[in-house]
């Protein structure tokens, strides 16, 4: 199933590459995860099922390695000087696996896996995700230090700069490099259909973050200005207005671009009237004046005091509504009236939301070993012709040794 059906990937278990392997597996590739005997250290990353640490109960592991098969091989002694490839049987098994594979995915110190594999088979695509690429250093990094060095952290945080800048949550630095790795592997696969040849794909985590900062990079590149972080909105060279309001139930809403058209002012005014709250909204009269305006361009507000007041009343109207409505009701109500905005959900609330459920995003995965069916976040992409997504739980240590290593 999936557009990559028939593609075989050998993934050498590593924190840097795990999510790339997961994406390829969800797209239908047969991803064989290679761990050391006894299991990869990532199996000890929490949180754990029922908070009981155990190599088969790591939720980090479950998420990153669903849809894959798993084998164990002893590839130890990563010392290029003493490596004897004729001797250890497991290294030969790795070469055999690679010879049958379309893609080898790894995140080891540059050169080591190349030495293990020997001459790259002509059709093989070898992709490596490392902190600074194959020609760079291989220092110790975490998602936090990658995002700090690569630019994203500078742009994220609060208006108050005595507070530290913030790392965007969820290990997105590692995942950004993995996204680029998957794009690149697919490019190499499409090219191979033309040329018959594979190639080496070098992915730099530091470079991946550097080109995933939007204004941060190109405001400096093109204009020589530096963006400054702000609470819950874009970092910009000069301060901008707030875009988050807190609603009746405590949830926050991103208000997006403020209302600027007569149609939007009227929709807000009518909504406030329908709720019977017109008398309580101080700026209701000003808001009504906005019904007749065509469009208020933000740039010359200073030149037109009336339009500036109307524009302000539009923003106030949303803040006023937030005092009486839950985040969900304000979000849906504004969107249904043609105004772009977004409720700020916590991750678990996404899984409970009617829209995501209606599209089948929450996905059930069998954990027959625990006698449980677990809800996972579903597929990133909806291939109408070749449905795909997470389809099996992460492998136990060495679970598929027999079927894979004996030629299965």
């Amino acid at each position: 199933m999936g557009p990559l059906e028939g593609v075989r990937v050998v993934e050498l278990a590593h924190e840097y590459v795990a999510f790339a392997g997961r994406l390829l597996a969800d797209l239908g590739a047969d991803v064989v995860l290679v761990e050391p005997p006894g299991g990869h250290p990532g199996r000890h990353f929490g949180p754990f099922v029922d908070d009981e640490p155990h190599p088969e109960r790591s939720l980090w592991w479950w998420h990153h390695h669903a849809s894959k098969r798993g084998v164990t091989l002893d590839l130890s002694a990563p010392n290029l000087d003493t490596l004897n490839l004729d001797d250890p049987a497991d290294r030969l098994r790795l070469r055999t696996l690679a010879a049958q594979a379309d893609v080898v995915l790894e995140g080891e110190e540059p050169g080591w896996v190349g030495a293990l594999l020997g001459e790259r088979p002509e059709r093989l695509i070898h992709v490596a995700i490392t902190p600074y690429g194959q020609a760079g250093d291989y220092p110790p990094v975490t998602d936090l230090t990658v995002l700090a060095a690569g630019g994203p952290v500078w742009s994220c945080g609060y208006d108050d700069h005595t507070l530290p800048p913030v790392r965007g949550g969820g290990n997105q630095g590692f995942q950004t490099a993995c996204n680029y790795a998957v794009m690149s592997v697919l490019t190499a696969l499409v090219a191979r259909e033309q040329t018959g040849r594979g190639q080496f794909v070098d992915v730099s985590m530091h470079a991946s973050c550097n080109v995933t900062t939007e204004f941060g990079s190109y405001t400096w590149l093109a204009a020589g200005h530096t963006v400054q972080r702000q609470t819950g909105r874009h970092a910009t060279p000069r301060p901008t207005e707030v875009t988050q309001v807190q609603c009746l139930d405590g949830r926050w809403l991103n208000t997006g671009v403020p209302p600027r058209t007569g149609r939007e002012f009227q929709a807000l005014g009518t909504w406030i009237e329908d709720l019977g709250l017109a008398d309580e909204f101080d700026e209701f009269g000003v808001l009504q004046l906005g019904y007749e305006v065509d469009y208020i361009p933000v740039l010359n507000l200073e030149d037109d005091p009336l339009k500036a007041e109307i524009f302000g009343a539009g923003r106030s109207a949303i803040e006023f509504l937030a005092e009486s409505l839950t985040g969900h009701d304000l979000f849906v109500g504004l969107q249904q009236r043609g105004m772009a905005c977004g409720i700020i959900y916590s991750p678990e609330e996404v899984l409970e939301d009617e829209h995501f459920k209606a599209r089948g995003f929450p996905t059930q995965i069998e954990h027959e070993d625990l006698g449980r069916t677990i809800t996972y976040p579903g597929s990133s992409l909806r291939f109408v012709g070749t449905p795909c997504g997470p389809h099996r739980r992460a492998p136990h240590v060495g679970e598929h040794n027999d079927e894979v290593l004996t030629g299965g």
Binding site: A148, G151, C156, V190, F200, A207, V211, E348, I374
Partner: protein, 421 residues
Amino acid sequence: MGGALSHVRICDFTGQLAGAGATKFLAAFGAQVIRIEDPVNKGRWDILRGAPPFKDSRRGVEFGAGFNNHNVEKLGITLNLRTARAKELLAELVKVSDVVSENFASGVLERMGFGYDRLRELRSDIIYVSNCGFGQTGPYGPFKSWGPIAQAVSGLTFQSGLPDLPPAGWGYSYMDHTGGYYMAIAILAALYHRARTGEGQWVDVSCSEAGAALNGPAMLDYTVNGRPLRREGMPNSNRSQSPAMAPHGIYATASEEPGVDGLGKTDNWIAISCRSDDEWAVLADQINQDWARDQRFSMLSGRLGAEDELDRRMQEWTSGHNRWKLAESLRAVGVPAAAVARPAERIDQDRTTSEWGLWPTVIHRDMGDVRVDGLPVHLSETDWSIERGAPCLGEHNDIVFKDVLGLSAGEIEDLRAEGVI
């Protein structure tokens, strides 16, 4: 060897970053990306065309630096799809294209008469990739969106911040970048599938779903353990819960002389992580103060149990140090550490990005030389190339209508005169 994708032609309606970023990647690898814009509103559907930042004092639809950044190496044509003739020309273009890509609100292309069924009539193996905030189906399908909204609804904004404060979120459109990455993955995977089977298909990309799928461990902690991320003390994304690490934070460092960007007197920070008790022991030696040798801190459980105190003491220590020198000394002994880099520092003073070729200079017809984001990957046989700036409005009308659709110079002149292009 030619470009990796030089055999691929894309009929491209994308804009902003969430769509344009996808076809930028493909164009850099040699795909012929033909960007279609509306001559009547001067391509302003893509608001970045005329939006800041600007390279110099010139303004207008040819001078938005963001638009240039996201549309390098593409061709640009104009079609006034209010006219029957333009629709005929679009149909001809679809027939000779491998992919049709767009990131309008859901249903817009269908209303223009070019929904998936129509595209398939024109070319049976066409690949159609649509990308919008909430996907083409479901109750929120018609809702408007862009990066910050997809980030908010997907859970990404919430989990970025410090306790007892509003969400800090992302200070840029992370999900416009990343939505573009997933759109590129969709196009490429569909191209591979078509090469193997001859079958085209439609891929319905929802930015908020792609974003939600980036929150795996937090979601599983809820579905498995019933533990929501909306709880006391959370989120706290400068710390690390999965895997658990401590210390793990961003700490203030000493004042500096102004850099080339004029900054540095304040707002200097260093990120430090300890992945194990062994790394903590090494770090404690570097700190070389009594508190760091406290037995309470020797085990992860002890450090996690006193994380507020640990972070306070860490910052007392780092605040006397220069962030670059401290990061270098910690990395040298194996402790993950990095200065929080400002744009000027990572672009103009970082050997690793310049040697990678990460900031290519392109030539734009009207703007001249401009530096842009390159790609963070290198392919050994068919690597990317970024040299040409974004197309000006209708810049490649003559080339595309002549070479791709076989029109004569006279016919193209007539299209101009009739307001079709």
